[in-house]
Symmetry: none
Subunit: 224 residues, 4 copies
Amino acid sequence: MPESRQTQPTDEKGEKTTEAATAPRRRQARGERRIAQLLQAAAGVFCRTGYAAASTNAIAREAGVSPGTLYQFFPNKEAIAVELGGRLLHDAHEMHGQAFLPENLHKPLPELLDAVLDPVIAFNCENPAFWALMHGSGVPGIQQEHEELHTSLLTRVEDVLRSFCPDSTPAELDLVSNMILGIFKASLDLILATEGAERAAYVAELKAVLLRYLEPMITEPHPL
Amino acid sequence: MPESRQTQPTDEKGEKTTEAATAPRRRQARGERRIAQLLQAAAGVFCRTGYAAASTNAIAREAGVSPGTLYQFFPNKEAIAVELGGRLLHDAHEMHGQAFLPENLHKPLPELLDAVLDPVIAFNCENPAFWALMHGSGVPGIQQEHEELHTSLLTRVEDVLRSFCPDSTPAELDLVSNMILGIFKASLDLILATEGAERAAYVAELKAVLLRYLEPMITEPHPL
Amino acid sequence: MPESRQTQPTDEKGEKTTEAATAPRRRQARGERRIAQLLQAAAGVFCRTGYAAASTNAIAREAGVSPGTLYQFFPNKEAIAVELGGRLLHDAHEMHGQAFLPENLHKPLPELLDAVLDPVIAFNCENPAFWALMHGSGVPGIQQEHEELHTSLLTRVEDVLRSFCPDSTPAELDLVSNMILGIFKASLDLILATEGAERAAYVAELKAVLLRYLEPMITEPHPL
Amino acid sequence: MPESRQTQPTDEKGEKTTEAATAPRRRQARGERRIAQLLQAAAGVFCRTGYAAASTNAIAREAGVSPGTLYQFFPNKEAIAVELGGRLLHDAHEMHGQAFLPENLHKPLPELLDAVLDPVIAFNCENPAFWALMHGSGVPGIQQEHEELHTSLLTRVEDVLRSFCPDSTPAELDLVSNMILGIFKASLDLILATEGAERAAYVAELKAVLLRYLEPMITEPHPL
DNA sequence: GATGAATGAGGATTCATTCAT
DNA sequence: TATGAATGAATCCTCATTCAT
C-alpha cells in the first residue's frame, strides 16, 4: 500500500514548524511526487502494453527510478494498478458528479445526452489509461474497482432513466442501463481510436443511437 | 499450421494399399485428434486466463499430454492461438454465409435482424473462445485474423446497409457499420455473461437498439 | 550396437537356400542398407553442424526415416558416431596400409613423402566427416577411436622415422612424430578448406615443411 | 558488452561529489567484479566442456551466483563468450605488439623466433580459454573475433616474412603465412597438452620446424 | 521392422521481488 | 531513501529416447 494512504501522523496541530516537523513534511512531499511520477509512468506503460505485459522494471525505468524505489512505495505490481485505478476512479467520480447534475435531469433528452456524455468522453480522452486499466486486467483488485465504477455508473444511469420512465420495473431499468453502458463503451473504443472529425462523427453517432433507443421509452413528458 | 498437415509420404512400394494406407491414416487420425484435443484445451485456457497468461505447459496439462507433445504439433504458443483462431474463423465465415443470405436482404428490417443476429449470437455462445481470442491477444498473427474477421463482417454489414440506404456516402456507411458492429460486440459481452431469460432479454434489447437506430435511415421502401 | 556387428548366425553352411534362409538374409541386407543410409546421413550432418549440435532427429530426417527407425539400429547418438568413426577408421587403416608400404621406406625422403601423404590426403578429401568426427567431439567413445587412430598413425610414422634415424631415442621419435602429425593435421585443415590450385599449393607446402624439417635428422644414407 | 558499461547517470544535484560519486562507483565496482567473476567462470566452463555444451546455469553456478544475476550483466550466452573473447583478444593484441616489435625484424631468424614465439606461447599457456574459445564455437560473434585475430596475426607474420623475403609475391606470402600459423596452432595444441620438460621440448621443436622451413626462403641478408 | 506420436528432463531467458550498500 | 545487484521460480522450447500401433 502506498505511503500516501497512510494516515498522516496528525500533523495538523500546526505547532513546531521547526526542523523536526519540516523535514518529514518535505520528505512526504517528495514521496508524493515520486508516487505521482511512478503512477504516471505506469499509466503510460499500461496504455501501451496492457497490464499483464507491463513489467515493473519497465515502469521504474519509465519513471526514471530504480526498481527498488518502486517497491518502496508499492508492495507489488497489482498495487500500482489499483492505486492508479483508484485515483482515476476518484477523478471519474468527481467528473460524473458534474455530468449527472440534478438539473440535467429536466432537460430534454438530446440536451441531456450532451450534458452527460460530453464530459465523460472528454475525461476518457484525456485519461486513456483509465479505460485501458478498467477494461481487462484480470486482476482481482482492479476487477473490483471496475465493478465499483460500473455499479456507480449504472446507478447514475438508472437514476436518469427512472426520471424519464417512472413506470419501468427495476429489471427493465437494469437491462436498459446495461445496454446503454455497453453501447457507450463500444462507442468509446471507436472514439478513442479516432481523431478530429471522425471522432466527432462517432460522438454524434453515439448520441443518435442512444437518442433513438431511448426516445420511445420516455413516458414522462419533460418541460418544453 | 500443425506439422501433421504435411503430405503423407506416398509409400513407394505401392503394394497392399489397404494395410499400407490404413496404418498411416490411422496415425494421422490420432494426430488430428491430438490437435483437436490440444486446441480445445487451449480454447479453455485462453478463455479462462487470456492468451498472454496462458502457459503452454498449462495447455498441455489441460489436454493431458506432456509439453513435448504439444510442440510436436505446434511450433510455439502463438501458433496454437493462430490455428485455433483460424479454425473458428473458418467456421465463423461459413456461419456468416448462412446469416447474410441474399434473400434476407429483401426482408423487412426486424426479420432481417432476426435472420442475421440469431445465428451469429448462437455461434458465439457455442464458441466463447472465439470472442476471447479475437478480442485482445496482442499477438500479430491473431491481430491479423481479428482484422480479417472485422473487415469481413464490416463488408457484409455495409452491403446490407447499402441495400437499405442506397443514397448513403461510403463514409457514412463505414461510420454506421462500425457503430453497428460496436453495438453488437458490446451486447455480445452482456449476452455471453448471462443465461436463460436474461440472455434472451439482452438479445431482444440488442435488436431493439439496432432497429431504432437504423429505421430512420431507411430510404429504400422494402416490400411489405 | 548395430546389428551388423552381431555375429551372423553361422549361415555359411550354405545348405537350404530355401525361403526360410533367404528371408532373413534379405532382411539383414535391408538392415545393412538402412545402417549405411543412416551413417551416410550422420556423416553429412556431423560435417555440417558438428557432433554436439547434430540432433538424432536431423539425422533420421536426412536419412529419410523416422527417429524410431534410427533407434532400431543404434542405441543412442554416440553409438552412431562411434560406428561411423569405426568404419572410417577401418577404411583409414586399410588406406594407411597402402600408404606405408614397406617398400616406400627405402625411397628417398621426397618420394616417400609423396607416397605416404598423397593417399592420406586423398582419403581425407573424400571423407571429410572423418576429420570432423575425429577432431573434437568430446565423446568418450569417439575420443577412444581418435586415440586409436592417433596411436596407429604415430606408430607408423615412428617406424618410418626410425628407419631414417636409427640412432634416435624413443623420446625423440615420439616428439618428432607428434610434431609431424600436428603439422599434417594443421595443413589438412588448410587443404580441406581450399580447392584446386590453392589446395595443391598447400599440399606442396606441407611436403616442403616436412622435408626441410626431417632432412637434417637423416643419419642413415638411403640407397640411391 | 555488459550493461554495466552504461554511462553513470550524472547525478543532477551535484552536491557532495565525494559521497554522491563514491556510492555509485562502489556499486559499479561490484558490478565490474561480478562481470570478471562470471567471465572467469565462463572461461573455466568453456575450457572444460566447450561453448555449445556450456550451460548458462553451469556458468552461474561456477561463479556462485543465480542465473538471474548472470542475465543482469549479459543478455545471452553468446554475449558472455563474445565479451570473454573480446577481452582476451584485447590482451592478445597488446601482447602481439610486444612480440612483433619492429626491432625484432633485424634479428637473425633464430632470435626472432624466440622473441616472437615465447611471449605468444606464454600468453596462451596462461589463458587456455583463449584458444578453446577461438577454436570452434560456431557462434557468429566469436567466429568474427576469431577471424579478426587470424587476420591480425596473418598480417603481422606477413610483415615479418616480407622483410626476410622481399621478392616474394603476395600469394606466396599468404600461403607461407598460413602455413606458419597452422604449424604454430598445431604445436600449441601439443604445448598446451604437456608440461615441464616435454612442453619445452615441443617449443624447441616448433622453433626448429619453422627455422628449417623458413631459412631457405631468406633472400635478404640480415646483419651478422 | 517402420512409423511418428509421446515423454520429460534440461536449457535459455524473464521478471516480480528482496537485499546490501 | 535510492540504488541496482541478486534471487529463483516460472516460462517457452528442444531433443534424446521410448512406446503403441
